[in-house]
């Protein structure tokens, strides 16, 4: 199934490629951008527009994404959003494809590669595309096995919608497959309700005497239609998507068409919605986007790609369901987030409010104004301020004098736990700081757009596309920030003063420096940004920062060997 999907995706990609530039133009028109702008951009931009033609399998592999839900919902919201989104699509892919052209051809499809695949190979499957795929698979199986669609659905669901797996298993042992799916075998026997018969006998559920209309699955357990309806409605109400025959010893599943036949429309619609959601839950080829209130499903047709993007541009890790976290590993992320949840507040408080006893290194909280501390554990008496012996404060007062030797001695004697705490806080503060920076920087683009609207009112000759590059650069900046944030988690897990760590810190430093430079420049006033020389500097810096980011990811990918 995977293979099929991928190749068909590729095929579609091939087909749509030539038409891409025009798609591009369309979208440019939509954002009121003059076409001149894209063409007469700086060198950097030209590279990008070249690459634009080569990338975006996202759109082709999934034509519905463009036209259906996401854009529809967006356009109803606010035009800026649409613009943002589209520019996102345009720019985000560029650096990655750049890189895949020179040098990311290593065979081990790990972090970096998968990261670059984020943009190039992950298809975003929205509700409609999902439904269509479901429909296609069902129809194909139904035709191949000569069964009804609703039976094909049951069979597919029993194997997590892995069509190829189902077919090969079915050829091997049809009986086993049918039993597991709760389907009568041979499947040639129609699973449709045995024709409704009106009979005088008693219904074994309601025990009413006939004449009643009876129905049964092919197992022959027949009940009156009223009881069926009540039974099915109750099951649907409970959110059950695998309804089995009421007879306790029978394991036949009720196919969808029977639910449609016997229940009212509302109930059936509810049932279909549950079944559709179950498709995502059961299928191994798509997942729910974990972002709050997103609710989109995303296809993971490329299983080597760990980080994927939903149609709303949320990027996440398929494995641990958190934010895309390169270069950190899933286990590092899980451990880190847990540690942050558990410890951060405590640690912050500890570092602000406690000292370690200079003798036994237990952590001590000051519980009064007096600076004369007595360690409860070892009874050591010392001064809270200078950590020196309290005795020295009575016999010979030296607390106010700065003694470098003493400071050094007290530092040497610091407890390991305090050192570990400081180490953790070092990484934690930087991690949080990059997260905060990113949140602020995400607004740069919006601010630039607002400012531009103001400027346009005053100077109508200004063109919308003049601030386009700000959005693109901001996107790159945010990507760097995310990576930077996770580098601190990665670094926290690396052994100190190892050669890997040295190299890593070097790469990190490089990325951090370039990111900060870009950030600083982008935060200047829009009037400044509109100057040609500033614009080219922004573009150059964005490219440099992206380079650093990819170099770092690649370095980690290659095991941090110099």
């Amino acid at each position: 199934m995977q293979r099929l999907t991928r190749s068909s995706a590729r095929q579609r990609e091939e087909e749509t490629r030539p038409s891409l530039p025009s798609t591009n133009q369309n979208s440019s028109k939509r954002r009121k951008q003059s076409t001149e702008n894209t063409v007469t951009a700086t060198g950097n931009d030209q590279v990008s527009s070249d690459k634009v033609a080569k990338r975006t399998p996202e759109e082709p592999s999934n034509p519905t994404t463009a036209g259906t839900k996401p854009s529809a919902s967006n356009s109803s919201q606010q035009p800026e959003q649409v613009q943002n989104q589209e520019s996102d699509v345009e720019i985000s892919e560029i650096p990655e494809s750049d890189v895949s052209y020179f040098g990311y051809c290593s065979d081990d499809g790990g972090e970096v590669q998968s990261n670059s695949k984020v943009a190039t190979e992950t298809s975003c499957m929205d509700e409609q595309a999902r439904r269509r795929q479901q429909q296609e698979d069902t129809e194909e199986v139904a035709e191949l096995l000569g069964v009804e669609n609703s039976v094909a659905t049951l069979l597919l669901r029993s194997v997590a919608w892995n069509k190829e797996d189902l077919l090969s298993r079915y050829m091997e042992d049809a009986e086993k497959v049918c039993a597991a799916a709760g389907v009568a075998n041979p499947a040639a026997v129609s699973l449709a309700m045995l024709s409704a018969q009106v009979s005088d006998r008693e219904c074994s559920i309601c025990r009413l005497d006939g004449p009643l209309a009876f129905s049964a699955l092919s197992c022959g357990h027949s009940y009156c239609d009223c009881c069926w309806k009540r039974f099915l409605s109750l099951k649907v109400e409970e959110g059950e998507t695998r309804i089995v025959c009421p007879e306790p010893s029978c394991s036949l599943q009720v196919p969808e068409n029977i639910v449609r036949q016997l229940c009212d429309r509302e109930t059936f619609e509810k049932y279909s919605a549950y079944v559709e959601n179950a498709f995502v839950d059961e299928s191994k080829t798509c997942v729910w986007c974990p972002y709050p209130n997103c609710g989109l499903s995303v296809g993971t047709t490329d299983s080597s790609s760990k980080f994927i993007i939903c149609a709303q541009r949320h990027s996440f890790c398929v494995e641990c369901r958190s934010e895309a976290h390169a270069p950190a590993q899933c286990d590092q992320v899980i451990e880190w987030l847990k540690k942050c949840d558990d410890d951060s507040e405590t640690f912050n408080w500890l570092s602000a409010n406690t000292q370690d006893c200079p003798k036994c290194q237990s952590t001590i909280e000051k519980n009064g104004g007096c600076n004369h501390m007595t360690c409860r554990k070892c009874k050591h008496e010392f001064c809270w301020v200078c950590l020196g012996l309290w005795q020295s404060h009575t016999d010979y007062y030296s607390c106010n004098r700065f003694d470098p030797d003493k400071v050094k001695a007290s530092e040497d004697g610091k407890a390991k736990s305090r050192a570990a705490l400081d180490r953790y806080l070092h990484y934690y503060h930087r991690y949080m700081n990059h997260e905060r920076s990113r949140k602020l920087e995400e607004q740069i683009r919006d601010k630039a757009v607002l400012k531009m609207e103001e400027l346009q009112k005053k100077e109508p000759q200004r063109l919308w596309g003049d601030v386009q590059f700000v959005g693109e650069a901001t996107e790159k900046l945010c990507k760097c920030r995310v990576v930077l944030k996770w580098t601190y988690v990665f670094a926290h897990a690396l052994e100190d003063s190892s050669s890997q760590k040295n190299l890593f810190c070097f790469l990190q430093e490089d990325l951090e420096r370039n990111t900060e430079r870009l950030s600083e420049l982008l935060e200047s006033e829009v009037e400044n940004l509109l100057k040609a020389e500033v614009k080219s500097e922004v573009l150059a810096l964005a490219a440099v920062a992206t380079q650093s980011r990819l170099k770092l990811l690649q370095g980690v990918e290659e095991g941090l060997v110099a």
Binding site: S204, R207, K235
Partner: protein
């Protein structure tokens, strides 16, 4: 909905009184209320419960048979699958949808096709073979597993008590 339940319960009551099933007897707790039944169960032969006559109250919901009745022993009974307050905990009496983890097999769960008779047979079978995997009375389950002698003594006490109350 409840009209159907009334009809169905009346019918089942008639059947149970006309041709009684070995091992239990059943009747309405209050003649004006068809939703509450008194049942008495004979301790199954060749088990520790043999000789006992255990009374229980069976309460049907208004939407019976879509949902199962509850069964609560009014006699003292010491059993891993009976809560200390007398409520019987067996899978077929669990309201549908109460088992999201799929722990119970479909055939072991409530289905509208169950009747008073099938429920009573399940309870009798529960008395003969306790299930200590998901116990309602943890102490009883522990004893049943680890201290058979004490378990037997407690059950014998319940049996005696039930005979005295006859």
């Amino acid at each position: 909905m409840s009209e159907q339940a009334v009809l169905l319960l009346r019918k089942q009551l008639k059947e149970v009184t006309r041709c009684p099933v070995e091992g239990f007897s059943a009747g309405l707790a209050d003649d004006s209320n068809v939703f509450e039944w008194n049942v008495s169960i004979m301790g199954p032969p060749d088990t520790q419960y043999e000789g006992g006559f255990f009374n229980a109250l069976m309460t049907f919901p208004q939407d019976y048979p879509n949902n199962p009745p509850t069964v609560r022993f009014t006699s003292d009974i010491w059993h891993p699958n009976v809560y200390p307050d007398g409520r019987v905990c067996i899978s077929i009496l669990h309201a549908p949808g109460n088992d999201p983890n799929g722990y119970e097999k479909a055939c072991e769960r409530w289905s509208p096709i169950h009747t008073v008779e099938t429920i009573m047979l399940s309870i009798i079978s529960m008395l003969s073979s306790p299930n200590d995997e998901s116990p309602a009375n943890i102490d009883a389950a522990k004893e049943w597993r680890e201290d058979k002698e004490e378990y037997r003594r407690k059950v014998a006490r319940c049996v005696r008590k039930s005979q005295e109350n006859l």
